[in-house]
């Protein structure tokens, strides 16, 4: 029986970049990394607590990956 190739592994260079970037950035928003790296108030960034800004930056970067993927036609 002839099967379609697996869709779990990206086939193009842009696909590999997008998936890798998303997974790596997302891992930094999850345990244990978020607890190890960012679970603190200081140093404050623009008056905001560190944990809040750390996550906000990662969320914006993740959205950036999705927009980049769309613009690359993935």
């Amino acid at each position: 029986m002839r099967r379609a190739r697996s869709h779990y592994i990206p086939r193009t260079r842009d696909g590999r970049i997008a998936v890798s970037a998303f997974l790596v950035l997302f891992a930094f928003t999850q345990p244990p990394l978020v607890y190890l790296l960012a679970n603190r108030i200081e140093p404050r960034v623009a008056g905001l607590p560190f944990l809040y800004v750390y996550l906000l930056v990662l969320y914006v970067a993740l959205i950036g990956v999705l927009v980049w993927a769309r613009r690359r036609g993935l």
Partner: protein, 497 residues
């Protein structure tokens, strides 16, 4: 003019706007099942964007998220992670669901699964899971609506009457205009609720603290326990953080009101841009929610019900007209989810039950009438559940959030060709085992080892699905080639015809 008159009047003005939109949608409707149930698969980016966002964010986002920040602190900012994940799932999975729906004419989630797995049992189980685990959200949203109207009117409109009025309005415009009315009202609701949360939070932050930055500074100085994990009550453990991210992203996406929205996109471009950009709206709504919750923890530290922090602060510190506008926004948040659940349950009951097993082969007009009657039935059930107290509902509500998550392995088997095929028996066994595991890890022994019960249910489901699929008969070669071939052509060769 007294504040309650202003607040209540503004909510009724908002309701009038939704009724007018429903009437206009009714005039545009044709006697066509796809038009009534799926907006004719013609939803453009703006309409689809706002309806998905408004449907995802319910009364919980408006009232409950502030309560979460109030009680458990910054841990609820994990919400950003699950909203970003919703965007990625929509991009990758939603676009495939859209493509298959367009090629094979699917209307409900069960249509797709039953076609691939060649099974009426899969259709029935999917329909039951879809309805059972979302119908209770009608109750949750309706109770939120009754509460809002009751609070806005200073208890002059009873909770029961408020619930009935708002349920009837939502059901009314759905009956009149089908999904078109739902989408158009969702556009208004999506804009209104977003502006309302931001404006309300900023006004309170400036009024009470002199601005958001000063608010954050005061929280850091006076309640630093709210700004680190796991929070004052130890709620946001690593297992709970990860579990909520999974359950509130995949768990919501696999509910029928979201899945069916994927079918309605006008093009692949629309659905992919939707995936790339929905997290902007979904995530940024929690920024003002944090201001409300954390500010409330300083300004009103002894609230008996933390979820009321937003309206309580508004009544105490904001002008009446603004309070009314924002409570109308809260009404919009609840109604936009409520109407979508009513619509999806109506569609599942009409398409998967009535059209297939009770009255097959009738005219589109007959099924549209049947759908409208289902909405009336759902309205009655929703009202009775809202005003009554039923002990078994407590268990079902507990299970609801992660219930639809149990459909995930089945959808992955259809939409992601891989080395191993998922089978009908695997899917049925996996869903059954997953639901049992969910009951055990959410109700009997909640969150074993600190990991959210929804994740335990999903893990058991995946293992059972894989093992049983390995030893049972896969779908026929022609079926696999037809559906996986369509996915392959869509992903690597462009849009379906």
């Amino acid at each position: 003019m007294e504040p309650w008159v202003v607040s209540t009047s503004l909510i009724f003005v908002y309701l009038l706007v939704t009724i007018v939109i429903g009437a206009v949608a009714n005039r545009r409707m044709s006697v066509d099942l796809e038009d009534f149930l799926l907006y004719g698969r013609r939803a453009g980016f703006v309409v689809l964007y706002l309806t998905v966002c408004a449907t995802y964010h319910s009364a919980f986002a408006f009232l409950g998220s502030g309560g979460f920040f109030y009680t458990h602190g910054i841990g609820f900012w994990a919400a950003g992670a699950w909203t970003v994940l919703v965007g990625a799932i929509t991009y990758v999975l939603g676009s495939r669901i859209w493509a298959l729906g367009k090629v094979f004419g699917y209307i409900t989630p069960a249509d797709m699964l039953a076609d691939f797995y060649e099974s009426d049992a899969v259709r029935i189980v999917t329909a039951v899971v879809s309805v059972l685990f979302t119908i209770l959200y009608i109750q949750v949203q309706a109770q939120g609506l009754g509460y809002i109207l009751s609070v806005a009117s200073g208890d002059r409109i009873s909770f029961e009457l408020g619930t009935l009025i708002l349920l009837a309005v939502a059901a009314g415009y759905l009956i009149a205009g089908g999904l078109r009315a739902v989408y158009w009202t969702d556009v208004v609701q999506g804009v209104w609720m977003y502006l309302a949360v931001w404006i309300g939070a900023l006004v309170l932050a400036f009024e009470l603290f002199g601005g958001p930055l000063e608010l954050w500074r005061r929280v850091a100085a006076e309640r630093p326990d709210l700004l680190t994990l796991p929070g004052p009550q130890g709620f946001f453990t690593p297992g709970m953080w990860f579990g909520m991210v999974i359950v509130l992203s995949f768990g919501i996406v696999f509910q029928p009101q979201i899945l069916m929205r994927y079918y309605t996109a006008a093009s692949a471009r629309t659905i992919k841009w939707l995936g790339a950009t929905t997290p902007i709206y979904l995530m940024s709504l929690y920024i003002p929610a944090a201001l409300v919750g954390l500010g409330g923890a300083l300004a009103m530290p002894d609230l008996a019900v933390p979820d009321t922090v937003f309206p309580e602060m508004l009544f105490a510190y904001a002008p009446a007209w603004l309070t009314g506008l924002i409570l109308a926004g809260a009404t919009a948040a609840a109604m936009s989810t409520l109407d979508s659940i009513l619509h999806s349950n109506m569609t599942v009951l009409t398409r998967d039950v009535y059209q297939r097993y009770i009255r097959p082969g009738r005219t589109p007009g007959h099924y549209i009438l049947a759908g409208r009657l289902f909405v009336v039935g759902l309205l009655a059930i929703g009202y009775l559940l809202s005003v009554g107290t039923f002990q078994f509902l407590v268990i079902l509500v507990t299970l609801s959030g992660a219930g639809a998550l149990q459909l995930m392995p089945a959808f992955l088997g259809v939409c992601f060709p891989g080395r191993h095929l998922t089978t009908r028996d695997g899917v049925l066994a996996g869903i059954g085992a997953g639901l049992v595991a969910l009951y055990l890890t959410l109700v009997v022994h909640p969150h074993p080892l600190g990991l959210h019960g929804g994740v335990w249910g999903l893990l058991v489901n995946f293992v059972v699905t894989a093992v049983v699929s390995h030893v049972t008969t896969p779908p026929r070669e022609e079926t696999v080639a037809r559906i996986h071939g369509a996915v392959e052509r869509f992903v690597y060769e462009g849009e379906p015809a």
